[in-house]
Amino acid sequence: MVAERLTAAGADVVRTGSRGMLWLEPLVEVETPAGRVGYGPVAPEDVDGLVAAGMLAAPERPTRRAETSDSPEGGRVVHPGPASPAIRHGESGVYLGLVEDLPWMRRQQRVTFARVGVVDPLSADDYVTHGGLTGLRAALRTSPTAVVEAVVESGLRGRGGAGFPTGIKWRTVLGAEADVKFVCCNADEGDSGTFADRMLIEGDPFTLIEGMTIAAHAVGATEGYVYLRSEYPDAVETLTAAIGVARERGWLGERILDSDLTFDLHVRVGAGAYICGEETSMLESLEGKRGQVRAKPPIPALEGLFGRPTVVNNVLSLASVPAILADGAASYAALGVGRSRGTSVFQLGGNVARGGIVETAFGITLGELVEDLGGGTASGRPARAVQVGGPLGAYLPVEKFDLSMDYEAFTEAGAMLGHGGIVVFDDTVDMAAMARFAFSFCAEESCGKCTPCRVGAVRGVETIDRIRTGQDREKNLVLLEDLCELMTDGSLCAMGGLTPMPVRSAVQHFGEDFTR
């Protein structure tokens, strides 16, 4: 509706993805010679006033373009008509100044998300204008082995949660002999508190396509699949359309960019099963089967989709690759700390004042993210707990806000980064209820194959219920810990294996909630 009013006012409106400043949406950005000037959140009824105040004709004329971002899924680029009256800065309550100068943006290092919120997601020309295809062209000029080694050198690790070095995985697939190899993108972003995959696919789908094409070249794959969850219908639509555009442009199909590379890409839609975010379960689902986890070995890199060597990577891992190839492994590896190289895309959600996407080098602290960028809770009450890494991640108290956001620091703290989701809770949260929810979510989403997860999750809910109602509390707390140990060490996959992480962290840091 904002867009309609702007169009009516003579602007040329282009819809972009989200800048990731979700609390400011709908966000309108007007392109000026000095850069993009932001307004947000803009309600439809605000538009006439803003236009009258000179929104579409910044004093530094001539204005060329503006952008908006419409809650909750994205933004618009606005091309204003001629002869707009001058705007008086500061008069509008939603005037933000130059978007790039906002503290939120200045704190970030946008590599993977460089184009998200800037480009028209389905404009191939926009994509190329903003540096798209540079990575793929660079990759095609060099050998598969060289591409693999560049990714190894960059230090890129799996952004889906496991943190396995992406290049090493690719090296295994490259070395495998087979009649056909696959590249599969895990876009089954089921973790609560994570939405970066969705933002990227809806805001800059060509980057993912380019990343997968580079992967195909690197490992010798000819077919790719993006397993996208059905809960994201807009992402499905955008990506499907983008693949169509890419085929038309010769970015997919035979002789890609006039090279010898043949690679095509297909979208497959999940069907409401969190477990299909586990890579082997996702492969089963892609094969048209029940999403039951496979035992490893064999690893998917050797026996993956339909038993063939398969690259399985998360959206963010694959979308980071074009930048690595374009700017060089060294520049990516220069970012980050320790063995956590490059940038990570953190997502602030839950009870947070300023929620959204923060892409920055590893090493920022949890507190900086939640308080400096996130602005504390939305409710205004004190923050009490933060869950990092989705429903299988640990609940951390504010005392842990100095924790460095990197793989190793989190592992050491009995937590995990996961897919970078950060969910904030204020002091009204009942952590025993959240621990119970962890089990009940596991019970709801368990594939049912292994016993610790299938039966354990249900018993976990019941045991916490007994603790909360004071039945044999001490004995049941011991039993709860034994169950957590069993699920951690005995489960077939990370679903059962990590469910104890939120439970144990809740007991450890918020024990008082279990005894009142």
Binding site: P72, R268, V429
Partner: protein, 162 residues
């Protein structure tokens, strides 16, 4: 004029067969077929299972196992509109449980159920990827953020009269 129920059943078999036949050459065609059947015919009926199995030359049991594994596949017709309320952690942090309780009270059905006038099917969902703007609700595929009980009432009102 009367409509013979067996004709309707035969018609459905033909449509399911056509859908399955159209998609059978895909790699791993079963999920795309089930999605298409549900999209075009509203649900995946138990009677569709042997038809799909036959087209794909797989066992009836396999199709049944897949249909029952995934939450998306309805085995009976749903309401005219589907409202899904996110109950995952991020939305819980901003009141999703109260919203969920409000929805069940207001509609008089539990999650996974359909109102008696077949207007609305209520479902729960664990994360819609709108975690910074919760509580999130999806109405027939369209995402809504910061849904208060009052806003939910408005949304329900829109679909009920649609």
């Amino acid at each position: 004029m009367s409509i013979d129920v067996s004709d309707l059943a035969a018609l459905r078999v033909e449509r399911v067969r056509a859908i399955a036949g159209r998609l059978r050459e895909l790699r791993g065609p079963l999920l795309p077929i089930l999605h298409a059947v549900q999209h075009e015919l509203g649900h995946v009926d138990p009677a569709d299972v042997p038809v799909i199995a036959d087209v794909l030359n797989i066992a009836v049991a396999e199709v049944h196992g897949v249909v029952t594994f995934y939450r998306d596949f309805r085995r009976e017709p749903g309401g005219r509109a589907t409202v899904r309320i996110c109950r995952a952690e991020a939305c819980q942090a901003v009141g999703a449980e109260a919203l969920a309780a409000h929805a069940t009270r207001r509609l008089g059905v539990g999650f996974g159920e359909t109102t008696s006038d077949r207007a609305i099917s209520l479902d729960e969902v664990f994360c819609l990827g709108n975690c910074a703007l919760g509580p999130a609700v999806q109405v027939d595929g369209t995402l809504h953020g910061r849904v208060s009980p009052a806003r939910l009432d408005a949304l329900l009102g829109e679909v009920a009269t649609a």
